[in-house]
Amino acid sequence: MLRKKPAVGSLILKDGTVFKGTPFGSQNSTAGEVVFNTGMVGYPESMTDPSYNGQILVFTYPLIGNYGVRQNPDSIADSLESSRIQVKGIIVSDYSANYSHWSAIKSLDEWMKEEGIPGIYGIDTRQLTKRLREKGVMLGKIINRQDTGFYDPNKEILQEYVSVKSPVTYGSGKPHIVLVDCGVKNSIIRSLLRRKVRLTQVPYDYDFTRMKYDGLFISNGPGDPKSVTQAIENVRIAMDSEKPVFGICMGNQIMALAAGGATYKLKFGHRSQNQPCIEQGTKRCYITSQNHGYAVNDKKLPSGWKPWFRNANDGTNEGIIHKTGLFRAIQFHAEHNPGPRDTEFMFDNFIRMVREGR
């Protein structure tokens, strides 16, 4: 039997390292920042998380594709985090072409083909991860047939790609929450709506300061927090009032910057579902889901602010809180998806504060 030689795809890192494997998904070539995630479930959720925009995602869990993809891109009620795949490409060790799940409607491969996203499998993802851990995240490209240049997403304002273009309203009644969309995960919207609020999702650079609202929520999002200057300025103004403000992930960083604090880029970030975060001054530790490359420097917090959570592994900041308690933010994803649900009560606390603050 005559058979075509299997195709070979390559991942080329900026430092010149080349990993060869078998291509799947789209046959396009692509470039971005190469990062790794150590979660063992949730590839559809991660791939649609807007915070991964511009990045090539390495899954350290070796078996990916097992349960196919359940997808209903038009519905906010679906399990995915946005209406499309946000990562530039994915790198896996072992791809399951034959998926098995009652809720799946297609394979991961089919989905990636539809969305023009390439992947490579058959790569020693542990070796790759160790390299990223040692040298820090770096630029890379997936080359299938045609070469392409490197692309640095951190030089862009990625919110342009992931934020809504004009305000969107959900629900009705009270309280009214304004959500600053820096690339919000659908789960944040779902988590807020489950708590019966009226929600206005506004573009990341939208001037909401003269809107009437009961609480302000700053979302997660991709890229360097310092690049979203308009959002930082708006939040600074908002914190002059006494309306509760809550931030998640990039929201944490924006609030720190708005208050006069500082952020920096982590060597290889936190992208996983098992990050332990200790509530400062207590012995309570929460297992959290995370996806961030930048962090708040909690030694440079302005007066009136203090660290709320710290990472039990590396001691980095995982949340900040203002002395009034009105403004608080967490670096981890209380809305989870993917990941553990341990901190979903944060939404309850926020909404309670909003209601009682009124």
Binding site: G39, N66, N98, Y99, Q127, T129, R133, H336, P338, D342
Partner: protein
């Protein structure tokens, strides 16, 4: 606040449903106590465990794990804390009883970790269901009942098929699916003979079975360390299932939904420490049921611990002492904390090891009760690699999931009603072209797993068309990535393993060494917990370290090889470290202490095979390999490794071969003029008969090793020889049988020894209580010998010396002898540590493995004097059987080993030690009645004095007709009970079932392998209805004499130290 002295309950003898995993958990608990400077007291009669070693606990009691003895130890030691959750169900049940009798309170002993009220909430189904209902968590619809008619009513309500569950049972004993009233009544009646309450539940056929290991501290921090998915859906006990970690077919939403419920349940129950929660999960919606919670360390937690590198038992102990999860370091990274959930970047496959062919008459179907005796764990970067490795690790002679020509006669039946061979039937069904859909509909196994097996089959099909000359690099590499071993490839393409290796080396296809680091490479790991994979391109570690020695472990626990070899491996590693060597351990058994990554400098959790040892050896370049500690598995590799240029330390593999090869060994014995039972290897039935006539019946027959698993047997006459040879299928040139003369009425003696360059360094001679004919692993053994002639022991020692010299032994060895009238014949020589090394080491207070390791590493140790006559105590080692779990099996002793574990106890005399040991393996002293059927004329006569003694102690004797007549003749009164097949009343079986006899002494009439006889029915009834049973004349005699001398309260409560410290 911290306790000063803590009592830890072990789990006793290994039995089906409660294996070696509790040596791991107890040992970690003791280490945690030691680290805290808290005094520890251990009660565990399992002498072969690592936990019951001097350096582990401050005081060790080899006593039965029953409330009576624990209370005595509490009175004596006055501990202020107790751990109940490290010794399996045995310790847990004991603890609950101590609590409910108020004993703990009376003596001010605080239960550490999970409180008894929480334990009871998990064990009592009624409370459990109610508790979960309080937080809206679903459990299977079920009704708790306390009698048979209640059970039937409940089943009518729930509708058949229903699941019957037994509370407080380990390994699902007595549980099962019932399809109708009759089945239910039968099962329920058995269950009610040992418990008061059972549960009738909805049966969730085809649902996925998922488990989580949960840890919670006193500050309400709660994490799930690992989840696991059963390959075999509901209906197969998790101990009988292939299990993968982490789950493979759950989406994020499902994984975290179940995780969230786990945490909610564990918080609500108030567990502190470690526990396991099992779910049934719908394959077609997100519906679920919580099946059970084990509020203790379990088999699954040992597996989870090894699968993730998270030291669950150690952490659980620390939490029990009041630490918070955030205060304990992650001992793998040493940079992060214990409060996190491991991220795996590999897949783990656990497989059970069954030994069903070892038992007569046993049912081979697997289901809701555990029958497996051990397990293996394989690590890979895909399922294919891991599952094929796991199959090889089972040590049943198979190379992988396919290519070994195992064929089921009826594939569909095998898929629907699985036996221990279902996984192979799946592969061959796929190969035969049966669709995945169809296989799924028969087996209900998730299609993801089936597709993955399909991947292996498709590689196999490609490979089948290849030959060694036409095997491309791509295909060979694909084979290796899909878990094919060199030998498996060789078998499929009709080549040999060495040729495949050569080709692999030519193509440069080698495995990579990967680290298990709990964080998927996010942080650097400081420990060397390692495995091999072909799905990788880089080694995680460097091999530059020097002065290192590799120790081959013992592999899966099975009948005949168990925790005792783990003790040997661990002690050898400890000795090597003391000598300044770095140690490399190779083992794949998740139940062991040797696979704790901090027992050695490098742990390779991988297969103990020729291929793997060479791959590791070539990378590591150690100073040598020790093969004499892990039992027969490493021993069998010695010569092959030696011939491939691997340096084997200790006794030369050439000598090992001389001892293992029957012909060579026989010649050696002849040249040394050492006597042996006459034997011959025969290839035809005619010659076998001729030889048997010559040496006279009975004869012992051993088949050559074949997969069908024909066992050893004794033939009394020509007819039984014929029958046996028929069953052993074909006697032929390829499959010869060995026939040897069987000496009746002989004593069996063993010597365990260490020699240095051919000179004896230390030795221990022990004596079996049973006459020859009982496998040495099933024998009750006393040390020092109590009834041997001085001349016999002198002769035994002399032969050991001669053989040590002739084979230039350096290291441990063991010889078994037959002795009759001062005449000694040799049965077997093992040039390795034997099953009894921990026993003799602990009785003598001299660590034979430490000595052996020193001489192996070239230390010049001369003779170590052990003066037997100075010992003021006796040690007795007794076997533990698991017949109650092996439905239908005939509970008798024979030349084939059947015990699953052992204990050993000390006493001032033989009877005291013996009685303690027998109480430790589940015997109870009969109160009023003993039922006797004392077998052939000789044993009737031999037991006459015992019967008289029983009468003297005011026992009422029941007897079968023949025994009754004999006793009457001899003036001993007894009441006749009719044989079961007579169908007359009063019937023996009715009396046993009705709880009217306290003990059954049934001496079988012959050594026949199978007989559907009255005797069998009686023995089986005794086992099924939990009545102590003795089937051996010598044991019966000793038992009766022991209970005539000792009552329970006359047995001394003395620690091991107290025995060893000889006064004056």
């Amino acid at each position: 606040m911290n306790p000063k002295k803590v009592l830890v309950l072990g789990s006793g003898a290994l039995k089906i449903g409660q294996g070696g995993e509790f040596d791991y958990s107890g040992s970690q608990c003791l280490r945690a106590l030691r680290e805290e400077g808290i005094k520890s007291v251990l009660v565990n009669p399992n002498i072969a465990t690592v936990q019951s070693s001097e350096e582990m606990a401050d005081e060790i009691y080899f006593l039965p794990l029953t409330p009576y003895f624990i209370e005595k130890v509490i009175e004596k030691e006055k501990p202020d804390g107790i751990f109940l959750s490290f010794g399996g169900q045995t310790a847990l049940n004991c603890g609950v009883e101590l609590h409910s009798k108020g004993i703990l309170k009376k003596h001010n002993v605080r239960v550490l970790g999970t409180q008894v009220s929480a334990i009871i909430a998990t064990e009592d189904r009624g409370i459990f269901v109610k508790k979960l209902k309080e937080i809206n968590v679903k459990t299977p619809r079920g009704i708790a009942v306390t009698n048979i008619s209640g059970a039937i009513k409940a089943a009518d309500k729930i509708k058949y098929p229903v699941m019957l569950r037994v509370a407080y049972a380990l390994g699902g004993l007595g549980s099962g699916v019932c399809n109708n009233n009759k089945e239910l009544a039968e099962k329920a009646s058995k269950a009610f003979s040992s418990v008061k309450q059972i549960l009738i539940e909805e049966y969730l056929e085809g649902w996925k079975e998922i488990e989580y290991e949960v840890v919670r501290d006193g500050n309400d921090n709660c994490i799930t360390v690992c989840n696991m998915e059963n390959f075999d859906p509901m209906g197969i006990h998790t101990g009988e299932s292939i299990v993968v970690a982490p789950s493979q077919t759950l989406t994020n939403a499902e994984y975290h939904k179940l995780r969230e419920i786990s945490i909610k349940v564990i918080r609500h129950l108030g567990i502190i420490g470690e526990c396991n929660i099992q779910f049934a999960f719908s394959p077609s919606s997100d519906d679920y049921r919580v099946i059970e919670v084990n509020a203790r360390l379990s088999r699954s937690s040992a597996l989870a611990s090894k699968a993730t590198g998270y030291p669950l038992a150690f952490v659980a102990a620390k939490l029990g002492l009041g630490y918070s999860l955030t205060e304990i370091d992650n001992s793998i990274t040493k940079a992060t904390k214990a409060c996190f959930e491991p991220a795996l970047d590999y897949i783990v496959v656990k497989m059970p090891r069954w030994d069903l062919q070892k038992f007569r008459r046993v049912e081979r179907e697997i289901g809701t009760e555990m029958k497996s005796v051990g397990e293996v764990m394989a690590i890979g970067r895909n399922f294919e690699e891991a599952v094929q490795k796991a199959i090889r690790m089972l040590g049943t002679g198979l190379n992988g999931i396919i290519g070994d020509n195992i064929s089921s006669k009826d594939i569909e039946k095998e898929l629907r009603k699985p036996t221990d061979e279902r996984v192979f039937a799946i592969a061959s069904a796929i190969d035969k072209g049966i669709s995945i859909e169809k296989i799924h509909s028969f087996s209900k196994i998730d299609k993801w797993f089936l597709h993955r097996i399909g991947n292996i089959v498709s590689v196999y099909r490609k490979l089948r068309k290849a030959s060694i000359r036409r095997l491309s690099k791509e295909l060979l590499s694909e084979c290796k990535r899909n878990g094919f071993s060199d030998a498996q490839i060789a078998a499929i393409i009709s080549s040999d393993e060495h040729e495949v290796r050569k080709l692999r080396e030519k193509y440069s296809i080698f495995p990579s060494v990967k680290q298990i680091d709990t964080l998927a490479a996010e942080y650097p790991a400081r420990t060397n917990y390692l495995y091999l994979t072909y799905n990788g391109t880089e080694d995680d570690i460097s091999f530059a370290d020097k002065k290192k020695v590799m120790v081959l472990g013992s592999g899966a626990y099975r009948i005949g090889s168990s925790v005792e070899f783990d003790w040997c491996c661990v002690n050898s590693a400890i000795a090597l470290r003391k000598l300044g060597f770095r140690t490399i351990m190779l083992n794949y058994n998740p139940e062991t202490v040797s696979t704790d990554y901090d027992m050695c400098d490098k742990l390779y959790f991988d297969d103990i095979s020729f291929e793997t040892v060479i791959d590791i050896y070539r990378k590591e370049k150690p100073d040598g390999v020790i093969v004499s500690m892990g039992g027969q598995i490493p021993n069998n590799l010695a010569l092959k490794l030696h011939r491939s240029g691997i340096k084997i330390l200790g006794t030369s593999p050439v000598s090992i071969d001389k001892a293992e090869d029957r012909h060579k060994f026989s010649k050696l014995l002849d040249s040394l003029e050492i006597d042996q039972p006459e034997w011959k290897e025969l290839t035809t039935v005619r010659n076998a008969k001729k030889f048997a006539e010559k040496v006279k019946y009975p004869v012992l027959i051993r088949p050559s090793y074949v997969l069908s698993g024909a066992a050893m047997s004794v033939a009394l006459n020509e007819k039984s020889l014929e029958e046996y040879l028929d069953k052993a299928s074909s006697v032929s040139k390829e499959h010869p049988v060995v026939v040897s003369s069987f000496i009746t009425g002989a004593k069996e003696i063993e010597i365990d020894a260490v020699a240095n360059k051919g000179n004896l360094v230390c030795w221990a001679i022990s004596e079996h209580i049973e006459n020859a004919g009982v496998h040495s692993g099933d024998a009750t053994i006393m040390l020092p010998p109590q009834r041997l002639y001085f001349e016999t022991t002198r002769r035994v020692k002399k032969i050991a010396g001669q053989l040590a010299k002739a084979l230039e032994i350096t290291g441990p060895f063991n010889i078994q002898f037959l002795a009759k009238d001062n005449h000694v014949k040799i049965i077997e020589l093992n040039l390795r540590a034997s099953r009894s090394f921990p026993f003799v080491s602990k009785v003598f207070g001299t660590n034979f493995i430490d000595v052996a390791t020193k001489v192996i590493m070239g230390q010049d140790i001369k003779k170590i004097g052990i003066s037997v006559s100075d010992l003021e105590y006796v040690g007795v080692k007794a076997p533990q059987f698991s017949f109650s779990r092996l439905k239908g099996s005939d509970p008798t002793l024979s030349v084939e080993m059947a015990s699953t574990g052992e204990v050993a106890c000390f006493g001032d005399d033989l009877e005291e030690a013996f009685l303690k040991a027998f109480l430790s393996v589940g015997y109870v002293i009969p109160k009023k009645t003993v039922f006797l059927s004392t077998g052939p004329a000789e044993s009737k006569a031999e037991l006459l004095e015992s019967c008289r003694l029983l009468r003297k102690m005011n026992f009422s004797l029941f007897a079968t007709k023949g025994t009754h007549d004999y006793l009457r003749q001899m003036g001993v009164p007894s009441t006749v009970l009719y044989w079961p097949l007579d169908g007359k009343k009063p019937n023996a079986v009715d009396y046993i079932k009705g709880g009217k006899v306290d003990m059954v002494i049934n001496i079988p009439k012959s050594y026949q392998r199978q007989e559907l006889s009255n005797g069998y029915i009686i023995r089986r009834a005794a086992v099924d209805y939990n009545v102590p049973l003795i089937t051996n004349t010598q044991v019966a005699k000793l038992f009766v004499s022991a209970i005539s001398m000792y009552r329970q309260d006359g047995l001394k409560i003395k620690s091991w130290k107290e025995y060893k410290e000889v006064p004056g």
